[in-house]
Protein backbone atom coordinates (compact mmCIF):
# COMPACT_ATOMS: atom_id res chain seq x y z
CA UNK A 1 0.00 0.00 0.00
CA UNK A 2 1.44 3.38 -0.94
CA UNK A 3 1.10 6.36 1.39
CA UNK A 4 -1.94 7.80 -0.37
CA UNK A 5 -3.78 4.51 -0.11
CA UNK A 6 -2.84 4.46 3.54
CA UNK A 7 -4.12 7.97 4.13
CA UNK A 8 -7.37 7.59 2.26
CA UNK A 9 -8.42 4.65 4.40
CA UNK A 10 -7.04 5.82 7.75
CA UNK A 11 -9.81 7.23 9.91
CA UNK A 12 -9.53 10.81 11.09
CA UNK A 13 -10.10 10.82 14.85
CA UNK A 14 -9.92 14.62 15.24
CA UNK A 15 -13.01 16.83 15.18
CA UNK A 16 -13.70 17.81 11.56
CA UNK A 17 -14.15 21.46 12.52
CA UNK A 18 -11.25 22.91 14.51
CA UNK A 19 -10.21 26.53 14.72
CA UNK A 20 -6.72 26.25 13.21
CA UNK A 21 -6.17 28.95 10.57
CA UNK A 22 -6.83 28.36 6.88
CA UNK A 23 -3.87 26.49 5.42
CA UNK A 24 -2.41 25.62 8.84
CA UNK A 25 0.54 23.24 8.66
CA UNK A 26 -0.01 22.08 12.23
CA UNK A 27 -3.58 20.95 11.55
CA UNK A 28 -2.29 18.87 8.65
CA UNK A 29 0.40 17.35 10.88
CA UNK A 30 -2.01 16.59 13.73
CA UNK A 31 -4.49 14.85 11.47
CA UNK A 32 -1.84 12.79 9.71
CA UNK A 33 -0.14 11.70 12.93
CA UNK A 34 -3.38 10.62 14.56
CA UNK A 35 -4.79 9.00 11.41
CA UNK A 36 -1.74 6.75 11.44
CA UNK A 37 -1.78 6.19 15.20
CA UNK A 38 -5.45 5.18 15.13
CA UNK A 39 -7.99 4.49 17.86
CA UNK A 40 -5.68 2.66 20.26
CA UNK A 41 -3.95 5.90 21.16
CA UNK A 42 -3.72 8.39 24.00
CA UNK A 43 -2.67 11.85 22.87
CA UNK A 44 -1.54 15.00 24.62
CA UNK A 45 -1.73 18.38 22.93
CA UNK A 46 -0.08 21.03 25.11
CA UNK A 47 -0.99 24.72 25.03
CA UNK A 48 -0.23 26.27 21.65
CA UNK A 49 -2.02 26.63 18.34
CA UNK A 50 -3.36 23.08 18.40
CA UNK A 51 -4.10 23.03 22.13
CA UNK A 52 -6.14 26.17 21.64
CA UNK A 53 -7.92 25.06 18.49
CA UNK A 54 -10.71 23.05 20.10
CA UNK A 55 -9.19 19.59 19.65
CA UNK A 56 -9.23 19.03 23.42
CA UNK A 57 -12.91 19.98 23.44
CA UNK A 58 -15.00 22.69 25.00
CA UNK A 59 -16.81 22.39 28.35
CA UNK A 60 -18.42 18.93 28.40
CA UNK A 61 -17.58 18.04 24.80
CA UNK A 62 -14.39 16.45 23.53
CA UNK A 63 -12.41 17.37 20.45
CA UNK A 64 -11.39 13.86 19.46
CA UNK A 65 -12.61 10.31 19.27
CA UNK A 66 -9.59 9.14 21.25
CA UNK A 67 -8.53 10.11 24.81
CA UNK A 68 -6.95 13.55 24.74
CA UNK A 69 -5.47 15.78 27.42
CA UNK A 70 -3.98 19.24 27.37
CA UNK A 71 -1.01 19.05 29.75
CA UNK A 72 0.98 22.07 30.88
CA UNK A 73 3.18 23.90 28.38
CA UNK A 74 6.11 22.65 30.42
CA UNK A 75 5.40 18.99 31.20
CA UNK A 76 4.10 17.11 28.17
CA UNK A 77 6.89 14.53 28.08
CA UNK A 78 6.90 13.89 31.83
CA UNK A 79 3.11 13.69 32.05
CA UNK A 80 3.10 11.12 29.24
CA UNK A 81 5.95 9.26 30.97
CA UNK A 82 3.54 8.55 33.80
CA UNK A 83 0.76 7.47 31.44
CA UNK A 84 3.20 5.25 29.54
CA UNK A 85 4.56 3.64 32.72
CA UNK A 86 1.03 2.82 33.84
CA UNK A 87 0.19 1.22 30.51
CA UNK A 88 3.34 -0.88 30.75
CA UNK A 89 2.20 -1.97 34.23
CA UNK A 90 -1.28 -2.82 32.93
CA UNK A 91 0.25 -5.08 30.26
CA UNK A 92 -1.16 -2.75 27.60
CA UNK A 93 2.08 -1.61 26.01
CA UNK A 94 0.32 -1.76 22.62
CA UNK A 95 -1.42 1.57 23.32
CA UNK A 96 0.24 4.42 21.40
CA UNK A 97 1.34 7.18 23.77
CA UNK A 98 1.69 10.27 21.60
CA UNK A 99 1.96 14.02 21.80
CA UNK A 100 1.79 16.71 19.17
CA UNK A 101 3.49 19.77 20.63
CA UNK A 102 4.66 23.10 19.29
CA UNK A 103 8.23 24.39 19.36
CA UNK A 104 7.60 26.51 22.47
CA UNK A 105 6.33 23.54 24.46
CA UNK A 106 9.21 21.48 23.08
CA UNK A 107 12.35 23.56 22.66
CA UNK A 108 11.75 26.22 25.33
CA UNK A 109 9.56 25.82 28.42
CA UNK A 110 9.01 22.11 27.92
CA UNK A 111 12.61 21.26 27.08
CA UNK A 112 13.65 20.11 30.55
CA UNK A 113 10.85 17.58 30.83
CA UNK A 114 11.42 16.50 27.22
CA UNK A 115 15.12 15.97 27.78
CA UNK A 116 14.44 14.05 31.00
CA UNK A 117 11.90 11.74 29.40
CA UNK A 118 14.16 11.17 26.39
CA UNK A 119 17.11 10.31 28.63
CA UNK A 120 14.94 7.85 30.57
CA UNK A 121 13.93 6.38 27.19
CA UNK A 122 10.23 6.53 28.03
CA UNK A 123 7.99 4.73 25.54
CA UNK A 124 6.45 7.76 23.84
CA UNK A 125 6.18 9.17 20.34
CA UNK A 126 6.91 12.88 20.63
CA UNK A 127 5.96 14.98 17.60
CA UNK A 128 7.07 18.62 17.50
CA UNK A 129 5.36 20.86 14.97
CA UNK A 130 7.86 23.66 14.55
CA UNK A 131 6.31 26.87 13.27
CA UNK A 132 9.18 28.87 14.74
CA UNK A 133 7.33 30.78 17.40
CA UNK A 134 4.49 31.23 19.86
CA UNK A 135 1.84 31.60 17.21
CA UNK A 136 -1.16 31.01 19.46
CA UNK A 137 -0.28 33.98 21.66
CA UNK A 138 0.45 36.29 18.75
CA UNK A 139 3.64 35.23 16.93
CA UNK A 140 6.31 35.83 19.56
CA UNK A 141 9.85 34.54 18.99
CA UNK A 142 10.99 31.16 20.28
CA UNK A 143 14.40 29.51 20.33
CA UNK A 144 13.68 27.88 16.97
CA UNK A 145 12.82 31.19 15.26
CA UNK A 146 15.21 31.92 12.41
CA UNK A 147 17.67 34.82 12.50
CA UNK A 148 16.21 38.05 11.17
CA UNK A 149 12.60 36.92 11.53
CA UNK A 150 10.02 39.55 12.19
CA UNK A 151 7.91 38.44 15.18
CA UNK A 152 5.88 40.41 17.72
CA UNK A 153 8.77 40.29 20.22
CA UNK A 154 11.44 40.80 17.55
CA UNK A 155 9.79 43.62 15.63
CA UNK A 156 11.34 45.66 12.88
CA UNK A 157 12.68 48.71 14.69
CA UNK A 158 14.94 51.58 13.83
CA UNK A 159 17.68 50.20 16.10
CA UNK A 160 17.09 46.44 16.11
CA UNK A 161 15.33 44.66 13.28
CA UNK A 162 14.08 41.09 13.65
CA UNK A 163 15.54 38.25 15.71
CA UNK A 164 19.21 38.69 16.51
CA UNK A 165 20.10 35.02 17.06
CA UNK A 166 20.25 31.90 14.91
CA UNK A 167 17.73 29.17 15.64
CA UNK A 168 18.39 26.28 18.03
CA UNK A 169 18.56 23.05 16.03
CA UNK A 170 16.57 20.79 18.27
CA UNK A 171 16.37 17.49 16.32
CA UNK A 172 20.12 16.93 16.46
CA UNK A 173 20.15 17.77 20.17
CA UNK A 174 17.36 15.24 20.69
CA UNK A 175 19.17 12.54 18.73
CA UNK A 176 22.08 12.78 21.17
CA UNK A 177 19.81 11.49 23.95
CA UNK A 178 20.44 7.95 22.68
CA UNK A 179 16.91 7.85 21.34
CA UNK A 180 15.29 4.81 19.84
CA UNK A 181 14.26 6.87 16.85
CA UNK A 182 14.78 10.47 15.80
CA UNK A 183 13.80 12.13 12.54
CA UNK A 184 12.85 15.32 10.79
CA UNK A 185 9.88 15.50 8.45
CA UNK A 186 8.12 18.00 6.24
CA UNK A 187 4.50 17.78 5.08
CA UNK A 188 5.68 18.65 1.56
CA UNK A 189 7.39 15.27 1.45
CA UNK A 190 4.32 13.36 2.55
CA UNK A 191 5.47 9.85 1.65
CA UNK A 192 8.58 10.37 3.77
CA UNK A 193 6.50 11.90 6.57
CA UNK A 194 4.04 9.01 6.62
CA UNK A 195 6.89 6.48 6.67
CA UNK A 196 8.53 8.29 9.57
CA UNK A 197 5.33 8.53 11.59
CA UNK A 198 4.83 4.79 11.14
CA UNK A 199 8.41 4.11 12.19
CA UNK A 200 8.06 6.46 15.13
CA UNK A 201 4.95 4.68 16.34
CA UNK A 202 6.69 1.32 16.07
CA UNK A 203 9.83 2.55 17.83
CA UNK A 204 7.79 4.15 20.60
CA UNK A 205 7.04 0.63 21.83
CA UNK A 206 10.79 0.23 22.46
CA UNK A 207 11.62 3.66 23.79
CA UNK A 208 11.50 7.37 23.13
CA UNK A 209 10.85 8.36 19.52
CA UNK A 210 11.09 11.97 18.40
CA UNK A 211 10.06 13.56 15.10
CA UNK A 212 10.66 17.23 14.41
CA UNK A 213 8.25 18.52 11.79
CA UNK A 214 8.37 21.63 9.68
CA UNK A 215 5.08 23.43 10.17
CA UNK A 216 4.53 26.40 7.86
CA UNK A 217 2.30 29.09 9.35
CA UNK A 218 0.53 31.52 6.98
CA UNK A 219 -0.70 33.78 9.77
CA UNK A 220 2.58 34.25 11.59
CA UNK A 221 4.93 34.03 8.63
CA UNK A 222 2.82 36.22 6.38
CA UNK A 223 2.43 34.32 3.15
CA UNK A 224 -0.63 33.42 1.08
CA UNK A 225 -2.78 30.70 2.67
CA UNK A 226 -2.46 28.34 -0.30
CA UNK A 227 1.37 28.39 -0.26
CA UNK A 228 2.15 26.26 2.82
CA UNK A 229 3.24 23.13 1.00
CA UNK A 230 5.22 25.15 -1.54
CA UNK A 231 7.11 26.83 1.30
CA UNK A 232 7.69 23.54 3.08
CA UNK A 233 9.04 22.05 -0.13
CA UNK A 234 11.41 24.95 -0.67
CA UNK A 235 12.56 24.65 2.96
CA UNK A 236 13.69 21.12 2.16
CA UNK A 237 15.08 21.96 -1.27
CA UNK A 238 17.17 24.80 0.17
CA UNK A 239 18.51 22.61 3.01
CA UNK A 240 16.85 25.03 5.40
CA UNK A 241 15.01 22.01 6.73
CA UNK A 242 17.03 18.89 5.85
CA UNK A 243 15.27 15.54 6.03
CA UNK A 244 17.06 12.80 7.93
CA UNK A 245 16.48 10.10 10.46
CA UNK A 246 18.42 8.24 13.12
CA UNK A 247 17.53 4.63 13.71
CA UNK A 248 19.61 2.09 15.61
CA UNK A 249 22.05 4.94 16.24
CA UNK A 250 22.68 5.32 12.50
CA UNK A 251 22.00 8.64 10.82
CA UNK A 252 20.66 8.69 7.30
CA UNK A 253 19.72 11.53 4.95
CA UNK A 254 16.28 10.70 3.62
CA UNK A 255 16.41 13.43 0.99
CA UNK A 256 19.78 13.71 -0.67
CA UNK A 257 19.85 17.24 -2.00
CA UNK A 258 22.11 17.23 -5.04
CA UNK A 259 21.27 20.75 -6.21
CA UNK A 260 20.03 22.90 -3.35
CA UNK A 261 18.22 26.14 -4.09
CA UNK A 262 19.43 29.25 -2.26
CA UNK A 263 18.09 30.56 1.03
CA UNK A 264 17.33 33.81 -0.81
CA UNK A 265 14.96 31.81 -2.98
CA UNK A 266 13.38 30.12 0.06
CA UNK A 267 12.70 33.35 1.97
CA UNK A 268 11.54 35.59 -0.86
CA UNK A 269 7.80 35.00 -0.54
CA UNK A 270 7.69 34.86 3.25
CA UNK A 271 6.62 38.12 4.92
CA UNK A 272 8.46 37.57 8.19
CA UNK A 273 11.74 37.74 6.25
CA UNK A 274 10.76 40.80 4.25
CA UNK A 275 13.40 43.10 5.73
CA UNK A 276 16.17 40.53 6.02
CA UNK A 277 19.53 42.29 5.64
CA UNK A 278 22.22 41.01 3.29
CA UNK A 279 24.32 40.09 6.29
CA UNK A 280 21.46 38.13 7.87
CA UNK A 281 20.78 36.32 4.63
CA UNK A 282 24.44 35.39 4.29
CA UNK A 283 24.55 34.27 7.92
CA UNK A 284 21.51 32.01 7.49
CA UNK A 285 22.94 30.57 4.26
CA UNK A 286 26.24 29.89 5.98
CA UNK A 287 24.56 28.24 8.98
CA UNK A 288 22.38 26.12 6.69
CA UNK A 289 25.35 24.97 4.57
CA UNK A 290 27.38 24.18 7.63
CA UNK A 291 24.54 22.21 9.23
CA UNK A 292 23.90 20.23 6.08
CA UNK A 293 27.57 19.28 5.81
CA UNK A 294 27.60 18.12 9.42
CA UNK A 295 24.48 16.03 8.90
CA UNK A 296 25.97 14.45 5.78
CA UNK A 297 29.10 13.55 7.72
CA UNK A 298 26.97 11.91 10.38
CA UNK A 299 25.00 9.95 7.82
CA UNK A 300 26.16 6.46 7.06
CA UNK A 301 24.04 5.69 4.05
CA UNK A 302 23.25 7.47 0.83
CA UNK A 303 19.90 5.96 -0.01
CA UNK A 304 16.78 8.05 0.32
CA UNK A 305 13.06 7.63 0.70
CA UNK A 306 12.35 9.86 -2.25
Amino acid sequence: MNYIQTLRTAKDVVTPGMSACQGCGAELILRRVLQLAGQNTIVCVPPGCLGGSGVVGWDYQTGMEIPVHIPLLTNTASYLSGVSRMYQRKGRGDVNIVCVAGDGATADGGFQSLSGAAERNEKILYICYDNEGYMNTGFQRSSTTTLGSHTSTTPLGSVISGKEQQQKYLPLIMSMHNLSYCATASPSHMADMVAKIEKGLAWSKEGFAYIHMFSPCPTGWLYDIDQGIQIARKAVQSNFFPLWEMENRKYRMTYDNKKPISIADFVKDIGKFRDLSEQDLAAIQSMVDDRYEKLKKLSSEADCNE
Binding site: T15, Y60, T62, G63, M190, G228
Partner: protein
Amino acid sequence: MSERKHISPIGQEGLYVLDTASWRTHRPVMDKNTCVECGICLSYCPVNSIIFNDENKYEITYNYCKGCGICAVECPKKSISMVAEGGEDHG
Protein backbone atom coordinates in the same frame (compact mmCIF):
# COMPACT_ATOMS: atom_id res chain seq x y z
CA MET B 1 -28.14 13.04 30.79
CA SER B 2 -27.70 12.14 34.43
CA GLU B 3 -26.78 15.01 36.72
CA ARG B 4 -23.22 16.14 36.16
CA LYS B 5 -20.91 15.71 39.11
CA HIS B 6 -18.18 18.19 38.20
CA ILE B 7 -15.34 16.27 39.79
CA SER B 8 -12.56 16.12 37.19
CA PRO B 9 -12.93 18.41 34.19
CA ILE B 10 -13.77 15.93 31.46
CA GLY B 11 -15.44 16.20 28.09
CA GLN B 12 -17.33 13.12 26.95
CA GLU B 13 -20.69 14.42 25.76
CA GLY B 14 -20.09 14.25 22.03
CA LEU B 15 -17.71 15.99 19.70
CA TYR B 16 -17.03 19.72 19.71
CA VAL B 17 -17.29 20.78 16.08
CA LEU B 18 -16.85 24.27 14.67
CA ASP B 19 -18.56 25.43 11.48
CA THR B 20 -15.32 26.08 9.63
CA ALA B 21 -17.05 26.05 6.24
CA SER B 22 -18.44 29.48 7.07
CA TRP B 23 -14.89 30.90 6.97
CA ARG B 24 -14.56 30.12 3.29
CA THR B 25 -14.36 32.93 0.75
CA HIS B 26 -13.42 30.64 -2.14
CA ARG B 27 -14.25 27.01 -2.69
CA PRO B 28 -12.14 24.44 -4.52
CA VAL B 29 -13.87 22.90 -7.51
CA MET B 30 -12.49 19.75 -9.10
CA ASP B 31 -12.58 19.21 -12.86
CA LYS B 32 -13.22 15.48 -13.15
CA ASN B 33 -12.33 15.56 -16.85
CA THR B 34 -8.69 16.31 -16.17
CA CYS B 35 -8.32 14.69 -12.71
CA VAL B 36 -6.09 11.60 -12.90
CA GLU B 37 -7.12 10.31 -9.44
CA CYS B 38 -3.58 10.58 -8.04
CA GLY B 39 -4.78 11.57 -4.55
CA ILE B 40 -2.15 14.27 -3.98
CA CYS B 41 -4.94 16.70 -3.02
CA LEU B 42 -6.20 14.30 -0.35
CA SER B 43 -2.73 13.90 1.12
CA TYR B 44 -2.19 17.65 1.54
CA CYS B 45 -5.64 18.79 2.67
CA PRO B 46 -5.17 20.08 6.25
CA VAL B 47 -8.86 19.58 7.06
CA ASN B 48 -9.35 16.17 5.42
CA SER B 49 -12.13 17.62 3.30
CA ILE B 50 -11.11 15.55 0.31
CA ILE B 51 -12.32 11.98 0.49
CA PHE B 52 -11.97 8.81 -1.54
CA ASN B 53 -15.62 8.00 -2.16
CA ASP B 54 -17.60 4.80 -2.65
CA GLU B 55 -17.08 5.03 -6.37
CA ASN B 56 -13.30 4.98 -5.85
CA LYS B 57 -13.00 8.64 -6.84
CA TYR B 58 -11.48 11.59 -5.06
CA GLU B 59 -14.16 14.07 -4.09
CA ILE B 60 -14.11 17.47 -2.41
CA THR B 61 -16.56 17.87 0.47
CA TYR B 62 -17.63 21.25 1.74
CA ASN B 63 -18.95 20.79 5.28
CA TYR B 64 -15.64 21.86 6.88
CA CYS B 65 -13.39 22.98 3.98
CA LYS B 66 -11.87 26.32 4.99
CA GLY B 67 -11.02 27.23 1.42
CA CYS B 68 -7.26 27.49 1.89
CA GLY B 69 -6.57 26.49 -1.70
CA ILE B 70 -3.60 24.21 -1.01
CA CYS B 71 -5.26 21.47 -3.07
CA ALA B 72 -5.54 23.78 -6.06
CA VAL B 73 -1.88 24.80 -5.82
CA GLU B 74 -0.60 21.25 -5.33
CA CYS B 75 -2.72 19.46 -7.93
CA PRO B 76 -0.19 18.28 -10.54
CA LYS B 77 -2.80 18.47 -13.30
CA LYS B 78 -4.22 21.85 -12.23
CA SER B 79 -7.63 20.19 -12.05
CA ILE B 80 -8.80 22.17 -9.04
CA SER B 81 -9.79 25.82 -9.29
CA MET B 82 -10.81 28.21 -6.56
CA VAL B 83 -14.20 29.77 -7.16
CA ALA B 84 -15.55 32.74 -5.20
CA GLU B 85 -18.30 31.85 -2.73
CA GLY B 86 -21.67 33.47 -3.26
CA GLY B 87 -21.96 32.47 -6.90
CA GLU B 88 -23.43 29.24 -8.24
CA ASP B 89 -23.55 26.40 -5.73
CA HIS B 90 -21.14 23.64 -6.64
CA GLY B 91 -21.58 21.72 -3.41
